[in-house]
């Protein structure tokens, strides 16, 4: 059908300042999302779609990432190249810089922004791209408030992009650029090795020649480049995992029902709805077959003290009398004390939440400690190795690494 040896370019770029203080410790692609580095989600999905060569366009601490990427090369059987920008080249520059890899053969190549989380339907995208025969395809996602973004306007009824409208004041559409593209190698000829914006310079040119198509991205999409969106993206991702688990469970029950129907003594099988422990029961007539969510990740945690969608690393340990969830991710080696409440938060590797603490809408960085009866709320972000003393209330504060928080921080502020 279509060539299965794709190449991909991941635009990692700058210092990830928006995700500080986490990016003070690790380059943004290595910051964990759902207990795995953000870039690993992307690499894994790319490999699954048949990508054999990945170029990381970086200008920030490539030496830190080299080892991690080396691991991924062997784990995913993929070749990972670094394209180091010595000067910022905008979003299009790295494409030109990586032309040696991307022009190795005539297959299309993927381009994606490094802080996007979605289902990564690269195979579908490649198939769509090959089918329409245009020079490039960008994925678009539907948003509620298009006025904040650049809106993609298509030519009536088709997938061909007509124009881009940056931050429209009147409604022209609700599809925005999702930051995931596929291009034919010929696109590289459009790009000069100078600072160039792919979105503002290359895309409009391609659109004017009707060479740019768009494809709707199904399911979740979130730019997790800043703490608030990171947490929002986490809850979306967990919901996608829940939907996936639910679809799998239904499929399994349906298939077992089908097989039991053929057997001589049919065993009454439980209704798929009633057997699901985490769905409100619906009548069979209302239930429509769930969309098959193709997202990678471990099954959600379903334990008595867990409410809603929660992911807990098996190496974490949880005390008694806790209530965890919804929308919580607990990393490896995390120690949670007794009577701890965690809501809508991410606890990074090797952090400790002591007895009776309360963590809500917050990110607890690696090796951090939240003391007894302490409270985090309001998108508080603790960097690496931050210690919140017992009984302290941290509301919406951003704490840089290696700090000890001894007094209450009541309003959103940055603790240097």
């Amino acid at each position: 059908m279509y060539p299965s040896k794709f190449k991909a370019l991941i635009l990692v770029g700058g210092f990830g300042t928006r995700l500080r203080p986490l990016t003070l410790t690790k380059p943004k692609p290595l910051v964990e999302f759902a207990n795995r580095p953000i870039v690993e989600h992307q690499i894994e999905a790319l490999v699954k779609a048949g990508v054999t060569d990945i170029v990381l366009a970086v200008n920030y601490r490539p030496e830190v990432m080299a080892k991690a990427m080396h691991d991924y090369e062997s784990r995913y059987n993929v070749k990972i190249h670094f394209s180091v920008e010595t000067e910022p080249l905008g979003t299009a520059g790295p494409i030109a810089l990586a032309r040696d890899v991307l022009l190795a053969d005539a297959t299309p190549f993927f381009v994606l922004n490094s802080d996007v989380i979605c289902e990564f339907p690269f195979s579908d995208l490649a198939a769509f791209h090959t089918a329409h025969g245009g020079e490039g395809t960008i994925m678009v996602t539907k948003v509620d408030d298009p006025t904040k973004y650049g809106v993609v306007v298509t030519k009536g009824g088709s997938s061909v992009i007509d124009r881009f409208v940056e931050k429209p004041q009147i409604f022209v559409g609700d599809r925005i650029n999702a930051g995931i593209y596929i291009f034919n190698p010929s696109v590289i000829d459009r790009i000069q090795p100078r600072p160039t914006s792919i979105e503002r310079e290359i895309f409009p040119a391609m659109a004017s020649e009707s060479q740019l198509h768009c494809m709707d991205l199904e399911g979740i999409w979130m730019d997790v480049g800043q703490p608030k969106d990171y947490l929002l993206g986490t809850s979306l991702y967990l919901q996608a995992l829940a939907d996936r688990d639910y679809a799998l469970a239904q499929a399994a029950v349906t298939s077992s029902a089908a097989s039991s129907a053929t057997s001589p003594t049919p065993v009454p099988s439980p209704s798929p709805v009633a057997s699901s422990p985490y769905r409100h029961s619906r009548t069979a007539s209302q239930a429509k077959p769930p969309r098959l969510v193709k997202i990678a990740g471990p099954p959600l945690c379903r334990l008595p003290f867990v409410k809603g969608n929660v992911l807990i690393d098996p190496s974490a340990s949880i005390g008694e009398g806790c209530k965890i969830g919804p929308d919580v991710i607990i990393g490896p080696g995390v120690v949670i004390g007794d009577g701890v409440r965690i809501v809508s938060s991410v606890i990074m590797e090797a952090a400790t939440i002591k007895d009776h603490a309360f963590v809500k809408r917050s990110i607890v960085g690696w090796h951090s400690t939240v003391g007894q009866w302490a409270r985090l709320d309001g998108t508080a972000v603790l960097g690496d190795d931050v210690h919140v003393v017992e009984e302290v209330y941290v509301n919406g504060a951003i704490i840089l690494p290696h700090k000890e928080v001894k007094a209450c921080v009541l309003s959103p502020q940055i603790i240097m």
């Binding site: 699954k48 996936r244 688990d245 639910y246 799998l248 469970a249 499929a251 399994a252 029950v253 077992s256 439980p270 057997s275 699901s276 422990p277 193709k294 997202i295 990678a296 990740g297 471990p298 099954p299 959600l300 945690c301 379903r302 334990l303 008595p304 003290f305 867990v306 929660v310 992911l311 807990i312 690393d313 098996p314 974490a316 340990s317 949880i318 005390g319 008694e320 009398g321 209530k323 607990i330 007794d338 009577g339 701890v340 409440r341 809501v343 007895d355 009776h356 309360f358 809500k360 007894q372 009866w373 409270r375 709320d377 009984e391 209330y393 009541l410």
Partner: protein
């Protein structure tokens, strides 16, 4: 003279009425302010307990304008606790000012010819060094007849707060008060009136003069008004007879206003004919006049040994609670809570060192000395002396002495842990329902049916076989709660073994503090409930409040004198929950004052919630 040789004396507690002390709201909306519990007992119990230690003090009169029944229960309690003392509530039917009520009931005060009498305001918290003050009062003159008319207990306060009080200027050598101004506009002195007085009975003659002067003044005003008004048949006093008499107390009281000084009154029935002129402000009308007349002295309290606080705003009761508890941890640690049961309470033949021989239920006793608390070495005072002083409790020696005496009893009772009565047990059961019991959790984690069979069919889901197998760690459960002294816990309160309470906490009767709760610098009142894993700091939890789990009830912390800061636009420094307030789970209530019967469904900060 009384039987044991000490001079007969009395005391008057000025308790005020429901229309005053409004700054104590919302706490005074549910209980009369003088009866609001501080350090486990009603506010005025501290005054009574201090007065009861004065030899020869035979009667304590409460004067105020609350309804008659308000103090009945309190009076019967203190009558039992202090059997040597008679208690009476004298009701003013009209508010007569701080001195008017006292003057009105002067016959009651003077009955039995006391040599002197104490007057104490209800709205103060102090260690009440009354014995020292009395010794000073007696030292001023050689014979009772020439004793000063008044001795005021004074204390030093920060300069910027002095103007909120009555300020004294005294002769540093003789302690005579040279000048007295109530709430001066500019700084006068940092020595202020604490609202504790010893009066000589002759002070009533002076007060009579003050009352007469006021009558004359008002009549004169009326006369002057009438001169320009319609003609009247009212007889006009001859202005020539209205000469002032220079505060000569012994001089017979003369006034054209005749009925007042010889009408007969009965404090049980409404008194007739009170006019505005009968209002006597003790501070303004009496003390200011006595200043500089060699008849009023100040006893300054030792700020190292003793403490004094005003109890005006509701939040100041938190500071007062802390001061009493810390004072007791130095002087009477036996009053503090102890681990291991009810000690000797509720047992008729044992002695409660706080309440006297009656042994009424009151407080826990503290644990054997631990690192966290300071205990003064036991005094050498014979234990028996303290035990045999009915209704008396010596702050300086009795506490530690009794402490050593109750050790054996404590050991006997060590086995009885925090007991839970049936009602409390039901409450606990009912409210812990949604908390999963500590169960052995399955290792498999996922409860999604069919997930395992699909292993082969969907690699995406299961390439990571990592599954949450989070397990509860077996941890030894504590057998008793952690107490950081000083703490007072009522014997009928329930504290879960994993809770941590203190310092500076008083927990009232039948309060329930659940698993993993942290409380410090707080007053938790009767029958309130704090659910699991909640933290309460610098707050007053009203009667029958219900606080949800994982809440944070918090104030910034109260400073003793700054808590009184500015009447208007003041900053709330403690969270005060009125009676029967409910707080939903996981909420933060910070620096809020919540009126009774409110239900808070979300977090609040820096608000007064009507």
């Amino acid at each position: 003279m009384s039987a044991n040789g000490a001079a007969l004396s009395k005391a008057v507690l000025l308790v005020g009425g429901p229309s005053v002390g409004t700054r104590f709201r919302p706490l005074s909306l549910s209980v009369p302010k003088p009866l609001f519990p501080i350090a486990g007992v009603p506010m005025i119990y501290h005054q009574v307990a201090a007065l009861a230690r004065i030899d020869g003090l035979r009667e304590i009169l409460l004067i105020g304008f609350y309804e008659n029944g308000v103090f009945d229960r309190f009076l019967s309690e203190v009558s039992m606790d202090f059997p040597g003392i008679a208690f009476k509530y004298l009701r003013e039917y009209v508010s007569l000012g701080t001195g008017g009520g006292l003057y009105h009931f002067r016959d009651e005060v003077l009955r039995g010819n006391p040599e002197y009498f104490f007057v104490l305001h209800a709205d103060i918290a102090s260690s009440f060094p009354l014995s020292n003050m009395l010794a000073f009062h007696k030292s001023v003159s050689s014979s009772p007849e020439t004793a000063p008319l008044c001795t005021i207990m004074g204390t030093r306060v920060p300069k910027d707060t002095a103007s909120r009080y009555g300020c004294l200027v005294s002769d540093p050598a003789t302690q005579e008060i040279l000048h007295y101004v109530e709430k001066p506009e500019t700084f006068l002195s940092d020595l202020i009136n604490t609202g504790v007085y010893i009066f000589h009975p002759n002070v009533f003659q002076f007060m009579a003069q003050a009352v007469a002067d006021r009558h004359l003044q008002m009549e004169r005003e009326q006369f002057e008004n009438n001169m320009y008004a319609l003609p009247t048949t009212r007889s006009v006093p001859d202005m020539g007879t209205l000469a002032h008499n220079n505060y000569g107390f012994a001089q017979p009281f003369q006034s054209s206003y005749t009925p007042y000084h010889d009408y007969t009154y009965n404090y049980q029935s409404p008194t007739p004919l009170h006019t505005e002129a009968d209002v006597v402000r003790l501070e303004v009308d009496v003390l200011r006049g006595l200043a500089g007349a060699k008849s009023m002295f100040v006893y300054e309290i030792d700020s190292k040994e003793d403490f004094w606080l005003p109890l005006k705003a509701a939040q100041s009761s938190l500071a007062a609670n802390t001061m009493y508890l810390q004072y007791w941890s130095k002087t009477a640690p036996s009053r503090l809570a102890r681990i291991g049961g009810f000690g000797i309470l509720g047992n008729g033949d044992q002695v409660d060192p706080f309440r006297g021989e009656r042994g009424r239920s009151g407080v826990y006793y503290h644990p054997p000395p631990q690192k966290e608390q300071q205990v003064v070495p036991p005094a050498q005072t014979p234990v028996t002396k303290a035990l045999h002083a009915p209704g008396r409790f010596d702050f300086s020696t009795g506490g530690s002495a009794l402490e050593s005496s109750v050790t054996d009893v404590r050991a006997e009772n060590a086995a009885s842990r925090f007991r839970v009565d049936a009602a409390t047990a039901a409450l606990l059961k009912e409210n812990d329902e949604d908390v999963p019991p500590p169960i052995a959790l399955e290792r498999s984690g996922s409860l999604v049916p069919g997930l395992k069979p699909s292993k082969a069919t969907d690699p995406a889901a299961l390439e990571s076989t990592a599954n949450a197998s989070a397990q509860t760690r077996p941890r030894p459960q504590p057998t008793h709660p952690t107490l950081v002294q000083p703490v007072i816990i009522h014997p009928t309160a329930y504290i879960h073994p994993t809770a941590k309470v203190g310092p500076n906490v008083t927990v009232g009767p039948r309060a329930v503090i659940h698993r993993g709760v942290r409380v410090h610098d707080a007053i938790v009142l009767e029958a309130s409930e704090i659910r699991h894993d909640t933290i309460v700091l610098h707050s007053i939890i009203g009667r029958e409040c219900k606080i949800g789990c994982w809440c944070r009830i918090e104030g910034d912390g109260v400073q003793a004198h700054t808590s009184e800061a500015g009447a208007g636009g003041h900053k709330i420094s403690a969270t005060v929950l009125g009676k029967e307030v409910k707080v939903a789970e996981e909420c933060v209530v910070r620096n809020c004052v919540v009126l009774p019967n409110k239900e808070l469904g979300r977090s609040y900060q820096n608000e007064i919630l009507m």
